[in-house]
Each structure stands twice: as C-alpha cells, then as structure tokens.
C-alpha cells in the first residue's frame, strides 16, 4: 500500500522545526509502524538525506522507549498499544498520517520524533522507591499481602513510563504516571514507611518539571498502552492531601 507521511523534522532543541512530507510506496501490511519508518529511512539514506530519528528498543511493547503522536493520538489509533506493536494492516491504502513528537515543556525535543523524558526519571528518583534491608535474600512470602492488593499494585506497576499520558493530556500533565507510581507502592506493605514523604516529594518534583494540572479529561487512561487507570490519580490526590495536611506530630501515643 501507499502512504503519505507528514513528519516533524527538527535537528535539535535550538532548531525551529518544520513538517516534511514523504510519499512511501510498497508498505506491506505485516510491517509494524516502526518497520515502515525503517523502510522510509533506508530510502532517505540511499538518497543521501537525513533519516527520521525516533526512539525504539524492545519493539515488543514492554520497554516504553518508543512513542510519538499519529494523527493527533499518542501511539496511534489502536487501544492499549505502542507504536512498535502498531501494525500497518490497521491502516488503509492512501492514508495521510501526521507524525509529531510528544509535545510538552517538560519533554524537551532532542531530534525529530525523539524527546528527552528524563523528567520522569527525576520524579521517580524523588520518591518512587522503598527502603529495604540489604544482605541475604528474605524468605519468600515473609510479608503477606492480600491478593486484591497485590493485583492492584501490579496493575499500577505495569506503567512503562513511555510518556503517552503527558502527550495526550490537553494540559500536558503527568498525573497518570505519578499516580501509577504512588498507587503501585501505596498498595504494598513495603511501600508504607515512605508513603507520606513519597507523595510530597514526587508531586513536588512533578510540578517543578513544569507539567500541567489535571482537569480529569481521562484521555491519559484512554491512550495508555498498559491501560493504567485514573484510579491511581485519585490515590495520589488522597495521599498528597493526607501527607500535606494530616501528617507528622504525635500519632496518638503518649506526650
């Protein structure tokens, strides 16, 4: 099949950037979206032009490295998917596709479709951890966790940090990412010691990075490749509320 691709080209953060249009023939239906771009890049290299830069690693929808916006939707039109597992058989011959990078102040552009997502790393480092005793490995199941809680924690742990939530939020907010991290550890007994400080530190780091605020649009949940639920945002709000207003001091023991 034949495609018209309108792709954002930008040399580096200082370049202004522009759209470039490419016509691509011989797109096979079994190709993934990234393989289709590989074909385009091969053609560009043979013509002596700069190939289109995009992030990718596992190409199995589990690492969270790839991702850009296709016709206004992060990771494209298929639900619970990343661009590497988006297949050309879901497109039609003659489609016109506009490819843009994640656009957010907190994700500065590196080149073409690649943005710098280290803001997520800094938020994670601020509080997305637990303290554990080092030494020999503890016995399995030495800390019991109710099944429902373990499952909920794992659902939020599914977040791969791709940044689609920020990209598809009309406000450029990172609430789903931060909510997922806070909910993941908040459901587990191991996450309790740092729970109060985690909420304060991760929210503060998020705001410092310049992400937007939440309007409860829910488009983050709709485009999340892992289907992370906005329940995590409610958990984050509650933890933050409690941490900021009702934490510290004597918890009810003796004076």
């Amino acid at each position: 099949m034949k495609l018209t691709l309108e792709i954002w080209r930008q040399k580096d953060a200082n370049d202004k950037g522009h759209f470039e249009t490419y016509e691509l023939d011989n797109v096979r239906s079994h190709m993934s979206f990234l393989e289709m771009l590989d074909v385009l890049n091969q053609e560009l290299i043979e013509k002596g032009e700069e190939p289109v830069a995009f992030d990718h690693d596992c190409r199995e929808a589990i690492c969270g490295t790839c991702g850009f916006v296709i016709n206004g939707v992060a990771h494209g039109h298929m639900k619970r998917n990343t661009v590497c597992q988006l297949h050309m058989r879901t497109f039609n011959d003659g489609d016109h596709l506009v490819l843009e990078p994640w656009r957010a102040k907190a994700f500065p552009l590196v080149r073409d479709l690649i943005v710098d997502r280290s803001a997520f790393e800094r938020i994670q480092r601020a509080g997305g951890y637990i303290s554990a005793r080092t030494g020999s490995a503890p016995d399995a199941n030495s800390i019991l966790i109710p099944k429902e809680q373990a499952e909920a924690a794992l659902d939020f742990a599914e977040c791969i940090g791709c940044g689609a939530c920020v990209a598809s939020c009309p406000n450029g907010a990172a609430m789903l990412f931060v909510g997922a991290r806070i909910a993941h550890l908040g459901f587990l007994p191991q996450g309790q010691p740092e729970r109060v400080e985690r909420a304060k530190a991760m929210v503060a780091a998020m705001e410092q990075e310049g992400f937007g605020a939440c309007t409860n649009y829910t488009s983050c949940e709709a485009t999340c490749p892992k289907g992370v639920s906005i329940v995590g945002i409610a958990k984050m709000n509650k933890d933050y509320f409690n941490a900021k207003l009702f934490s510290g001091g004597n918890l009810g023991g003796k004076e």
């Binding site: 409860n216 945002i233 709000n237 509320f241």
Partner: protein, 224 residues
C-alpha cells in the same frame, strides 16, 4: 497555616480548594432551586419566603459573604490552574485528537467565565433590580419580579441558555471533584458519573422550569 499555604502551592492543592468551594456552591444551588420552586405554590408563598430570607441582615449578609468568598476562591484557583496548564505545552500539536475528552470537560474553561458573567447579570436583574434591566422591579416582590422579568422572551432564553451551560459545568465538576478529593473505590467509582448526571439533571430541570412556566403562561402576574 504553613501547611495550608504549602498545600495550596501545588496544582493538586488548588484543585482541592476548587472542589471544596465547588461543593459549597453546589449545596447553595440546591437550596436556591428548592426556594425557587415555591413559585409554583401560592403566589404569596415565595414573597413570604423572600421576606423571611431578609428578616435578619446579619444572616443574609453572612451567607452572601461566604458565597462570594467561595466564588472568588473558586475562580482564582481555576485561573491559576488554567494558566499553569497553558504554559505546559509551548509548541502545540498540528493535529490533536485526544480520545475520551467529553464536551463538558473541554468547555469548563469557558463555561466558567460565562457563568460568572451570568451571575453578575442575574444579581443585577433579580437581586438588585437595576432599573435599566428590570423596570418593574419591586423590592421583595419576588413573584411578580420573576414573572415580569421572564415575560421578556430574550431574558428568559438567556437564562435558559446560561442554565444549560451551568449544567455542563456542574456535571464535570460533580464527578471530577470525587477524583480530585481522592474519593474513589471499586464499589462506587463507576457510579460517580451517573450520579453527577442525575444531580445535574435535577438541578437544571428545577431552575429551568421557572422561565419555561412563565413563557408558556403557567405563571401569570398577580395584581396588588
């Protein structure tokens, strides 16, 4: 105090403040609507109600000041949150179709200012009774003030349109405040939106019934 200030500095804190003031304003709307519906009883009833509300200036003005304060804080927090989000995406998308964004959520940012303008107009029209807006206004003559006011068709239509907009604003606000306050649980989480639809429909129907009743002649002016 330090804690409260630190809390408000974050967008999460601002949203909680918006939610709490929103709840207070919503509760006031429920009372206001129930008060209005007395117009369908004996015409003297709502005038009596108006006199009752005005019996104590201290009570009247305390309620008014609380409402004005809530409204002011609600608007200030909304503006600050909106401004922050506006700056979070300096380079816009050429094509942007975020899925699942409903009409009510998308229009919060301008339904708010329009409702604020409507409240100003409504206060001048039926509370102050400005001559240029309502020539037949009689202080505390609530029944005839309302009927004469809505007998001007453009006025009645403006009220209905503004109230529909308020309904959209309420729908998004009512379900979304649960999320903002962290009130979620598998048992009631899925019911938050239907509950918001129900409450909004009741409020909107209650308010809109009055101008509609005047336009259709169900409510007529009374003499004396």
């Amino acid at each position: 105090m330090d804690k409260a200030v630190g809390f408000y500095e974050s967008t999460l804190g601002k949203k909680v403040v918006m939610a709490v003031t929103g709840i207070i304003l919503f509760l006031y709307l429920v009372g206001h609507m129930l008060g209005n519906l007395q117009i369908f009883l004996d015409p003297a009833q709502i005038d009596k109600y108006a006199h009752m509300l005005h019996a104590s200036a201290a009570f009247l003005w305390s309620v008014r000041l609380v409402l004005l304060f809530c409204l002011g804080v609600h608007i200030l927090a909304a503006f600050q949150v909106w401004w922050r989000s506006r700056t979070a995406r300096p380079v816009k998308y050429k094509v942007f179709n975020p899925p699942d964004v409903d009409y009510a959520a998308k229009t919060m940012v301008w339904s708010g200012p329009i409702i604020a303008a409507f409240i100003t107009y409504h206060l001048l029209h039926l509370t102050v009774g400005m001559d240029s807006l309502h020539p037949d206004y009689v202080h505390l003559g609530a029944y005839n003030n309302v009927v004469a006011g809505f007998q001007q068709t453009p006025v009645a239509i403006a009220y209905i349109v503004a109230l529909l907009l308020l309904a959209f604003h309420l729908y998004h606000g009512l379900w979304s405040l649960f999320q903002t306050m962290g009130w979620d649980h598998p048992k009631f989480g899925p019911w938050r939106r239907p509950l918001a639809v129900l409450l909004t429909a009741v409020i909107a129907a209650g308010f809109i019934s009055v101008p509609v009743a005047v336009m259709t002649g169900v409510l007529q002016l009374v003499g004396g």
